[in-house]
């Protein structure tokens, strides 16, 4: 065979490998049947999955009043808060207020909407995506001032810091009215804020992938074992991107008969019926924490154990708070994570007055508690709680 005959074949093989981005040797698929997790109700004790729970009350001062928390990012020394009034505030790990980050406004170094923030410990930088200005801003955590910014021509649903050198932006199908660049992951250089690479995540290239028709538009990018994971509520398959920027399947949620039916058209209402709508997925080394809507109710929680493949509908059987892990560690309120601190720690948050109200419930009078001292300290702290006090962050340390 002459070289000019072989060449197209070689090129075809190379192109196919590049375009699909699948790397079969890396592929470890966990298939998870959601039916088991919906039907199998179980009260799970926090001590079954965790060693310890800690509390960080965020300092309350006039200049750092926190509204409804949208996003919390952690480093070893700092806590970065974004609230629904687009305020970005930095606290230390004891909850002491350090400074505000950035300024809202129409000026060149000012942002209009804080859609998402991330903090890099190694680079000592804070990144913000402003969906109104279509701009990335970089802030210095020591001063709170903007060091650089750049406009982008795509409309991401989420972004994450990838290996400190890149910011990975994922455009889901939900961005379709604004851009034809949906299903792309754009890799932006953290130094010059220019697009270095873009990866097209076509669902038909992901084996087993199926559009879920959830159209709730939830997306979550996260880093685990130095890989970039991308969960999209519109697909049943979560993928990751490896260091070669190839797309690999990670886990598949088998919705089976709990798929959304196409006759539901108004997604502004809480959907009734038998379908399960997944709103959040948190992955740790040993578990998936799945949160969604089922039978017209928010906060349906499923714990999937990767080791024994067991899935349970985490059920807290009491009238005032019917979901979450029963807190037998310190007798605090039932726990369910809102996000990850790191690979082994999860967080939740609540206003002190709300926590006090829940903990005054008669349920807590006689429950067995492992750490009674912490329980007393928490109650003592909550004694003088006021409605405008800033939230308390709960940190759960998982068993390794």
């Amino acid at each position: 065979m002459t070289f000019h005959r072989i060449l197209p074949t070689i090129l075809l093989i190379i192109c196919t490998a590049c375009k699909t981005g699948n790397d079969a040797s890396d592929q470890v698929i966990i298939k998870y049947n959601i039916e088991q997790g919906i039907k199998q109700k179980k009260q799970i004790y926090l001590s079954e999955i965790a060693n310890d729970i800690g509390y960080i009350p965020l300092e309350t001062k006039k200049e750092c009043l926190v509204a409804d928390i949208q996003n919390i990012e952690f480093t070893s020394a700092r806590i970065l808060i974004l609230d629904d009034m687009d305020q970005i505030m930095l606290f230390d790990t004891s909850g002491k207020f350090l400074r505000r980050i950035g300024k809202k406004g129409k000026g060149p170094d000012e942002y209009l909407t804080a859609s998402r923030v991330r903090i890099s410990e190694n680079k000592n930088e804070i990144y913000l995506f402003d969906g109104t200005k279509s701009r990335i801003f970089v802030f210095n955590p020591e001063t709170g001032k903007c060091s650089r910014s750049a406009e982008i021509d795509f409309f991401p649903s989420d972004f994450e810091i990838f290996n400190d050198k890149l910011l990975a932006f994922y455009c889901s199908e939900a961005t379709f009215p604004f851009s034809n660049k949906y299903f792309h992951i754009f890799m932006v250089n953290t130094n010059n804020l220019k697009v270095r690479d873009s990866i097209f995540k076509r669902t038909d290239l992901v084996s087993g992938a199926e559009a879920v028709e959830s159209d709730r538009g939830f997306v979550h990018l996260y880093i685990k074992d130095d890989k970039l994971y991308c969960w999209d509520s519109n697909s049943d398959t979560t993928i990751y991107v490896n260091e070669r920027h190839n797309i690999i399947n990670s886990f598949i949620i088998d919705y089976n008969k709990f798929h959304r039916s196409s006759n539901i058209t108004d997604d502004t209402q809480v959907p009734e019926g038998k379908n399960f709508y997944l709103d959040r997925v948190i992955e740790t080394d040993n578990y998936f924490f799945l949160e969604g809507i089922y039978q017209g109710r928010y906060g349906r929680f499923i714990l999937f154990d990767k080791n024994d493949k067991a899935a349970n509908n985490v059920y807290f059987n009491y009238d005032f708070h019917d979901q979450g892990f029963h807190n037998d560690i310190d007798g605090g309120i039932p726990f369910w994570p809102k996000g990850k601190v790191d690979q082994n720690k999860l967080y939740d948050h609540m206003s002190p007055l709300e926590l006090k109200r829940l903990m005054n419930h008669k349920y807590y009078e006689n429950i067995p508690v492992k750490n009674k001292k912490q329980n007393q300290q928490l109650k003592q702290f909550l004694k003088d709680a006021e409605i405008t006090d800033n939230p308390i962050i709960f940190i759960l340390s998982l068993k390794s």
Binding site: L65, D68, L112, F178, S351
Partner: protein
């Protein structure tokens, strides 16, 4: 994706509503409101004179709310603060209080339980202004639908309504 479609349709609807910058409305029905002190008051108890209402909700477009708040600060030199009332909605009472403090609103702000003011424009997730009199008649409703032209349109709107005060 449908939420974006809904948003775009809302913008189109609002552009019709505001094609003359503001539209006329029927009156509001009597209803309960919640104060910053968590007391319940009736709408007719708080509207004793013709007043400018700024209606916004936690569900609304955030840059639009911010932008209108900054404009309210500008018009306070023309319209006495006592004639400006804020009607808002938050899912959580603490967030209502914190929002009022951050925006430095000390009085005349009320939480609307269930986010239902019985004004058609409540459905479109955009903040708006209107004038209300002591008979609860609504007039001069104004929605900013184009952020680029809003300064000009708001100036025109306030030039008209400041004559009421």
């Amino acid at each position: 994706m449908k939420s974006y479609t809904f948003f775009i349709i809302s913008l189109i609807i609002s552009s019709f509503l505001t094609s003359n910058a503001y539209s006329q409305q029927a009156g509001l029905i009597e209803q309960k409101l919640i104060t910053l002190q968590e007391d319940t008051v009736y709408l007719s108890d708080i509207v004793k004179n013709k007043s400018l209402i700024f209606r916004y909700s936690v569900m609304d477009c955030k840059p639009c709310i911010d932008s209108l708040f900054s404009h309210i600060q500008k018009i306070e030199k023309d319209i006495d603060k006592k004639f400006i009332i804020f009607f808002t909605y938050f899912t959580n009472f603490r967030h209502f209080l914190v929002s009022a403090r951050i925006n430095q609103i000390n009085n005349k702000i009320y939480l609307i339980p269930n986010n239902e003011l019985a004004v058609t424009e409540d459905d479109i997730n955009m903040p708006y202004f209107f004038i209300i009199d002591n008979q609860l008649n609504v007039s001069d409703l104004f929605i900013v639908y184009n952020l680029n032209k809003q300064e000009e349109e708001l100036d025109t709107y306030f030039a008209k309504i400041k004559e009421y005060f």
